[in-house]
Structure formats: structure tokens, C-alpha cells
Subunit: 308 residues, 4 copies
């Protein structure tokens, strides 16, 4: 049973293989009336994209060139959403399947190749197909729409910010030059979240944030942290009580394993020595999608005070 | 909360406005290993398409030219499905928004213009947007994939056939020449359906077929008919017992109201005098999607006889 | 894949076999703050219940005595809903499995016995199990909560009324005395429905009402009728345009086949000669659940005019 | 929008407030043919239950007496499941609302009282209502059914085992005697999981396990661990690759905050000094439910080799 949809009301469905014609996302459930255009989406895609000259120079990312230009195919009319599905599409312009042809019959260690073969029988072996980190571009595009919605409904108050806790850029450069890879950790802080988000008992905000983060490739650990405290104590509200946001800051951290494909291990292709720099906007996007979904879900918690 | 997805396991999500850049469908849940290419899909799209020269000559459809060429963006590799979302896209090449510009501030009688305005506040007024019959092109494309799946799993035995019960082509020509429109009725017969399809108690096969048909624009009535009998008697199995298919033929009829936009009423644009000829492949598509979904849903009804 | 849940936000899940210990419904998604107690539910259950003395006397129902007393196990505190699941339970007190013991290895014609056996392998043969009309008691209980919600939010304006179009009570008495059974038709009229209910494109209000009605045992046909008109014309709004309610009256009709178990056919047990009298409150309940669900779904269609 | 259901095919819905009449779970989607009776469920409930004499003596749990006797109301016939909803119910026999009456207008620090009041307006203040750890009894009951299913389909091979990493019983006794509370950590090991479980891209097995664990009250951190290794390295498969189980052991750890209600803080009622002993069977239950659901979901990944 398929698993390419996230969210219950603000629902995103992503599609597209790493080396196929294009990838994208359908957002079904964005309310009508939200101002939206490509310029709201492109900057986050640019942050996620590999091969930025300054990063290449620093040895921080792979040299794969992905222009990652988003196009809005539907759901927006005269600059505002109309309540119909928003289709976002990104063409794959620098797919080089020939880099991967040699991997056709090989299961790369640490990759999903073997489990995909076993589960599906028939697999797109070019660059990981759907298991590739490239799929996250669609999440980032959809996340930008979620951010726009949250910014609108909080009157510009909400902030979703990521910080890379480890490793530092210098460490990554060293690992890259040695053909190695490194794990890393990202901290995400959400300021001025609406209160009341999260649905007892399974769809707690913390539980859905955990799922959102752990669905990102290479994620291995999720922690809901007490704000401004070095350790988790019984006093900490963490901005989430009983699975419901209190309006206080929410702070989480996500740990990512080191990329499995490295030159030191003899794996060809264009790979990142550490994914935290590219994963950061993906974490923000998934947090925004989770919050936007719960913002809409929360609208039915209470009856209006007086009958209509 | 959005309503652009149909099905629980073989799930289709459609997107696209009548006069937007393109429309399409994402199928999430088609199993891996199904042979599939564009040639499996295009013939059904051609049947649904308006403006076929022979039909125009006969006054049966509107002159709008929609090449309706489908493209498969993902989910298929080396000629077979790989278990990932299948994105199907159709470009709108003959959209002429200027035909509709005059309707910007008008609510056409019998159309969804007024209710969309009230529900969403902001609306794509060009040709009905999502409420247009054009949206059904995406259903037909997805339905062709469902048919392919059903044909495969039944070893080519299943047949899903539509017949137009009323009106005859001659009647439609007369109505068209007078600038009028006509209602109509389609009968759908499913031969060699797998047995066991339908889930008690709400997702009966008959209930989901009813929803599928009644979701087609202009549908007004649905009947599960006894096969080969003029009336419904207590003996009739109708191929569905207690909401579950028995393997016997299933026969249903669907009634469509007459199109509301007619020249006689002074409505401009390119409109059909009767929609049954174009609705027939849509009915077949929705039946195929419903059956394919229930075929997959039925796989969990029983434990395998012996533990794995 | 299971099918015992109806609705997306106002979600009901029913459980219980005809001759098991009890049956019931869980409503997940009723907003907090709705006044609710048993007295809101019992009257509808009493209407659906068979064996009322006056009906027995008239030969209209089976003599099975089902007290059908509802109990509210959760979700209500100090007379109002609290936003948590509302569990409703009804004990089966007059289950007489011995009446059915002889049917253990028999598939009654016109019943779901054979398809259940084939689908599930293992079946509760006592009185139809889940396929029994007894399951609808749980729908009626949940429907009473939906009605309470709709009455509250429309400030007492909404009316959901059923009328039996055919057959008349005299006809049923005649059929019963001859050991026969009869089909029947119910007309449902909804006055003062909120406008804007129904979600394009698959979850049209008309499509979900069709599913709701066709999920009732023995339902065979569904029609969305033009109000106050003998036939369906192109002008008719039917209170639903493009699948969305306009606020005008909605009128539908539902056709039910004749019960398959009759004395004339030698089937033992306590059976109804015609089900329309008992099906009428079930139709009302399913309509109320469908409307309540869409009322809540509609809350996200538009952004609030100004950001919060 | 409600959040009391977990799972897509093996779906559980729980209901019941801490001090209401009863609580329970409906399992919709358990295949027919699974041997099942109360004795499969009661032992896990007994492990979760507070107030066991040996634990009381050791100061490990609160003195609240909850017999927690499960009853199966539906879905099982002659000792085997029949594919219909399985209703499990547990009566609340030792609810002492008077202990909590004084808390009616108080928001206990570290509890969900304030966020519930704000979200729902109207709240069951007796012992936390739905936010109470008592709700997890229903999860444990449903989890026992999931375990039975997994044991059956793996031919008795699967093991889902929890171990308490911290704190030791001695530490808890000390904290309890001082009126304090402690956080704790549980490690869960799954041996002989079926391979192929997990659905790209959002419903990765690791993501759904994270959600399952983080939905347990007081959970604060989730880690997918490399088996038998003190730290996460790039080589580790963790039994889950690309979100899909490989068949290798899966090891996870879950961190729980210290209970907020303590005597040292002046909070009355019967409370646990540390919840890990009672949380351990809940972790196992949620893992079993997650795996059972994904076992059934995986059945549609591939077409059968040959058409039926």
C-alpha cells in the first residue's frame, strides 16, 4: 500500500525517480485565497540544491548540477490559490544515467538497492530511483507553500529555523578530501507556532514531527528538546504538552548517518561527504508541512461558541 | 478538506484546471511489475476527446480540439511499473480563455460557478476550472492503467463495457441543430470480475461504484441492475451480494442530466449537446479504478492457509 | 483492507455481529462542546427497532425483540462532548443463535453467506453476522449524534426527513400474510442544509450521499432528484451544483430490493416482509453523518479573510 | 480532525477517558482465520498494569488497582477472527474521581491540562482524561492481537523484546521514597521481522516506528540504532534500509521524561515515580501494531509473477 502522501488535510503527494523525466508534488488541501507564485518556492529549492559554486569550492557538496526550476501547473489563478490541487513540477535536467549503468546488477552497501529489489522485483537502478535524496526536492517545494500558509495565518510571526550542530564545514572538507563521509546533526527551532496543534492520541504534534523527520533519507534519531536547556527534565514543556503545542518555542534535533557512497569505498558517482547542509531545508520543509496540516486539522476541535 | 483522491490502495489524485497549463493524475499504489506504456493509455483518451471529425460532422460533440496526448513522467522503468507513483500528464493545448472572459462576473445557470465562488471566494472562471468535464481526461488516463492491471490479474478475462441506452445519435443531432441539449443514460457491464471484491460494511463494491459514478460531472442517478432482467426482483444477485462481488456479471446504469450550457440559452463557448458519448469511457475508467482498488484491498481478507 | 469506517473528519467506525455480545459505533471527530446525552439517541433507535407492538399487529416487522438501549461509554463529560472519541454501545439481548444453527452449512439464496465464506474462509453464520441489517442500529445511533451537531450549527434550521414512497402498509400486510416480501422506495428531503458542502472532484456531496445510501443493506438505486419536479431536467439544481450544496432543498430517492428470506421460500428465522419502514431512519442517519462530515470538511476551504 | 486511529490496514482506534466507564480499542483490518481469545491478550495487560503487589512493595508503581480485564465484543467466532472489526473493552473499576475533584480548576504543571482546555474548551479533568497514561491499556490490548498475527505469519519466529536501559529499580525506589520522579530509557529489539516492510517515501518503517513510539505519553526521543554497536556509523544497516526492513534485527531506543506529578511537588493522586516499567509493554505493543500494519501493506508491492 502506497506511502507517497504526507498529511491529512494539507496533503502532499510526491512523485518522480532520481533520473526520470521530472519530479514533483501535488498539494491537495491548501485553502483558497493564499497569495502564491514561483518566487515563494524557488529560494528554498536553491538552498537545497547541490553543486552551488561556493559549496563546491569548499568541498561541501557533489558537483551534480540541478537547476531545480519549479513550475506551478495548477491550483493558482491570478496570483492566489483557488482551493484546487497545486501541482508543482521540477524537471531533471542533469540526470546522467550512464554514471550509474555499471550499478545495474550491484547492490551498493548501505543503500536501499537490495531491499527495493526484494520488495518490488523491478527497480530503477539509476541513482537510487525513489530512494535517492533527490526526491526531497519535491518536499522542499511543497514545504515552501506550507511556510507561506503559516506565515499568512500567523501574521508573519512564525519562524522555522534550522542550525547545523555538527559537523563544522572544516571537518566536512577534510573528510571529502580523504574520500570519506560524516554523520551530522540538525537542530530545528519553531518560534511563535500557533497553540493547540496536535491531535490526541496518536497524531500528537511531537509524533507527527518525529515521523516527518525520520522519513527524510538517512535520518536516524529524533529528539524533542527542552528549550534552552542542556538536558531533558521533568519540568520541560518543550513547547508541546500532551502532544499539543502550547505556543511556546518548539526545539527538536535530528541526527543523520554518514552517506554510504564514498570514493574511499570505491563507489562512483557524484556524492555528498555529509548531507546536513542539504538536509537542513528539508527538515524545515517537513516541519512546515506538519504544522500547516495540524493548523487546518485544529479548526474542528471546538464548536463555534454560538450556533451559526 | 480536499477531495481530489479516489481509492484506498490503488489511489488516484487528479489535478489541473480546464484552462490551465496542464492536467494529470498521480497513481499511488499500482504494484510493481505491470507492463505499461503510453500506448496503453492513449486509445481511451482518444475515445473521450471531443472534436473528433466524425463526431463533429454528426453534430455529436463540441468543436474544441484537445489533442490530449498523455506523457508518463514517473513510475515506469524499462516498460514496467516499479511500485512508485505513476505521474500522467496531459497538456492543455487548445485552451481559449478569451472565450470565457465575458463570464468572469457571471454565474452560468445550471453550472457550479456560484457554489464555487461561495465556497472558495477566489475562482478560475475560465471554462469551469476544476468543475469542467475536462477534468475527466485525467480519470480516463488513470483508468487505462487500472484496466491494464485488471486484465493482467484476470489473465485477460475481464471485460468492462459501456453501452449508451439513450438518447440515439439522431436525437442528439436534432437537439444540437436546435441549440438544445439532452440528458442520457449509460449502461455498464462488467464480465468476469474477480470474486470477493467489496469491503463490509461501508465500502461495499456497490457503494463504491455508486460513488465513482456519481462523482462524474452531471451524473444524477445510479442503479445496480439485475443482469438480463427488466426489473429488480428479490432473486437478483446483480453480481454483488452483501456488497461483495460473486464473480457473476455486474450491470449498472448511470443517468446524466442534460448539459446546462446551450446556444438556445445564449451561452457562448464550445459545448456538447449531450455528454453520454464522452461520459461512456469515463464511466468505464471509474469502474476500472474502483475494481482495481478493491482487487488489491481484498488481498488481506484472509490469512494465508499456512503461516509463512 | 477494512471498510468499517465512514467519513473523513466526522468519522464513524461500527462493530459487532448480529448475534454477538453487542454492537456499537465509535465517532472520532465530533467537536467539543456539543450538548449530548442518551436521550438524543434513543428515539431514533426506537424508530429503527423491529418488533414494535403496533407494527407486529400490522404484520409490518419481524417479532424479534431488540430493546436496543444505547450506552455512551466515552467522549461526553458533564453533558457535553469533549472532542475525544464517542463510544456508543448496544447490547444484543434477544439474539437466538439456535434459530440459525441449522443454517451453519447452508448458503441462503439472495444473502451474502456464500460471498462471505469465499472472501473470509471463516464466517459467523448466525443471522448474517456483519451482513445483517442489525448492523444498521449502530449507524442510527451515530447518526443521531450527527443530527444533533447539524441542528446545533444551523441553529435548529436543518430538517432531514424521510418518506416512504412505496409500498403502502396495506401491501406489506398482504405480502406478509402470504409469506412473501416486497421491494420499496424511500424519499429523503433535506431542508436548510448549510451551503458549500461537498469537495471537488471525487467527494462531491452527491457522490458521498450515493455511497452512504448504497452502503445500506439491500439498497439498489440512488437518485438525486430535482426538487418538486416529476422528472430530471437540465434546469434542475437539485440543491447540489457541481457536487456542492447550494443551500436549496436536496431531495434524493433510494430503492431497496425485497428481502430474500421469506416463509414462502422456506427460510426460518424472524424476517421483515419489507424493509422500508426500518430503513427510513437508517437513510436519515447516513445522510446526517455525510452532511456533518462535509460541514467540518468545508471549514478549510478558504483562508480567513485576514491573517490571525 | 481526529487522531485516535493508528495504522492504514491493520487499523486501531482507541477510546475512553481515564476515569470514564470503560476504555477500549477497535481493530479494523485483522485478516480472518487468526486463532484468538482473551488469553492471548490478558498477559500483556497484566504486565502494563500498575499496582502489582511485588511492584508496590518495591515502590515501583502507584497503588491504583486496575484489574484491566479485557473482553472481546466482536470479530471473533468459534476461536478465530472472521475479518470483521475486533472490539476490545476494558472496564474502569477503580476510578476514583474524587481524588481529582480538587484539580477541576487547576492546570497541573508538566501536564496537558492547559493545552486541552485551550484546544477543546470543555475537558474531563479527572486524571487527565484522554491524556492519561491509562489510555495505553487499549494499545496494549490491540498490540497483543498484532503480536499474535505476526507470530502466526512468521511461523513463531518473530521476537519483539524490550529492555529497560535506565534507571535501575534501586534508583526508582530511592526517588519514590523521596517523593521524586525519574526519566528513563527503553531499548526495543525486533528479531526475525519479515523483510520488505516499509513504504517509500513517507511511510518508511523507521518513520512509522518513530511516530508509534513518540505517540506514547512522555516519550521525548527516538533512535534507530545500529545493532550491536555503541554508535551509529555509516555501515550500519540497523535492519532498515531506505526505510524498508531487510530481515536483520531492528533495534530502537526510546527516551521518556520523568513524570510531572510527584509528592515533592505537592500533587495528590496515585502516580508512578518512573514510567519505564509500565511503558515497556506499550512500546512492544506499538511496535507490533506498526509491523502488523506494514506486513499487510506490503502484500501489494508486487504483482504475482503470473496473472491469476
Amino acid at each position: 500500500m502506497p506511502g507517497n502522501t504526507f498529511g491529512k488535510i494539507f496533503k502532499i503527494t510526491t512523485f518522480g525517480e532520481s533520473h526520470g523525466k521530472s519530479l514533483g508534488a501535488i498539494i491537495d488541501g491548501c485553502p483558497a485565497g493564499l497569495p502564491l507564485n514561483k518566487a515563494d518556492i524557488q529560494p528554498d529549492l536553491d538552498r537545497r540544491k547541490p553543486g552551488k559554486p561556493e559549496d563546491l569550492e569548499k568541498g561541501l557538496t557533489s558537483p551534480r548540477q540541478e537547476p531545480d526550476k519549479v513550475e506551478i501547473l495548477s491550483g493558482v489563478f491570478e496570483g492566489k490559490t483557488i482551493g484546487t490541487p497545486i501541482a508543482l513540477i521540477i524537471k531533471n535536467e542533469d540526470a546522467r544515467p550512464e554514471d550509474y549503468e555499471s550499478l545495474k546488477d550491484i547492490h551498493r552497501p548501505g543503500h536501499a538497492d537490495a531491499v527495493y529489489d526484494r520488495k518490488y522485483g523491478h527497480r530503477d537502478y539509476r541513482g537510487g530511483g525513489r530512494a535517492s535524496g533527490r526526491e526531497t526536492a519535491a518536499r522542499v517545494a511543497a514545504g515552501a507553500v506550507a511556510k507561506k500558509l503559516l506565515v499568512h495565518v500567523t501574521n508573519n510571526a512564525i519562524k522555522i529555523q534550522s542550525e547545523i550542530l555538527a559537523p563544522t564545514k572544516e571537518e566536512i572538507k577534510l573528510a571529502a578530501s580523504a574520500g570519506n563521509s560524516l554523520p551530522g546533526e540538525i537542530q530545528l527551532t519553531i518560534i511563535n507556532s500557533p497553540a493547540g496543534l496536535g491531535e490526541p492520541v496518536f497524531d500528537k504534534l511531537s509524533a507527527d514531527l518525529a515521523k516527518a523527520m525520520m522519513s527524510i533519507p538517512a535520518a536516524r534519531s529524533f529528539t524533542l528538546e527542552p528549550k534552552d536547556l542542556p538536558e531533558i527534565t521533568e519540568d520541560s514543556s518543550c513547547g508541546v504538552q500532551g502532544g499539543i503545542s502550547s505556543g511556546d518555542p518548539i526545539q527538536i534535533s535530528v541526527y543523520f548517518k554518514a552517506p554510504s557512497s564514498t570514493k574511499a569505498r570505491g563507489v562512483q558517482g557524484r556524492h555528498d561527504p555529509c548531507i546536513v547542509h542539504r538536509a537542513a531545508p528539508v527538515c524545515e520543509a517537513m516541519a512546515a508541512i506538519t504544522l500547516a496540516d495540524h493548523y487546518l486539522r485544529n479548526k474542528q476541535a471546538q464548536l463555534d461558541c454560538a450556533p451559526l
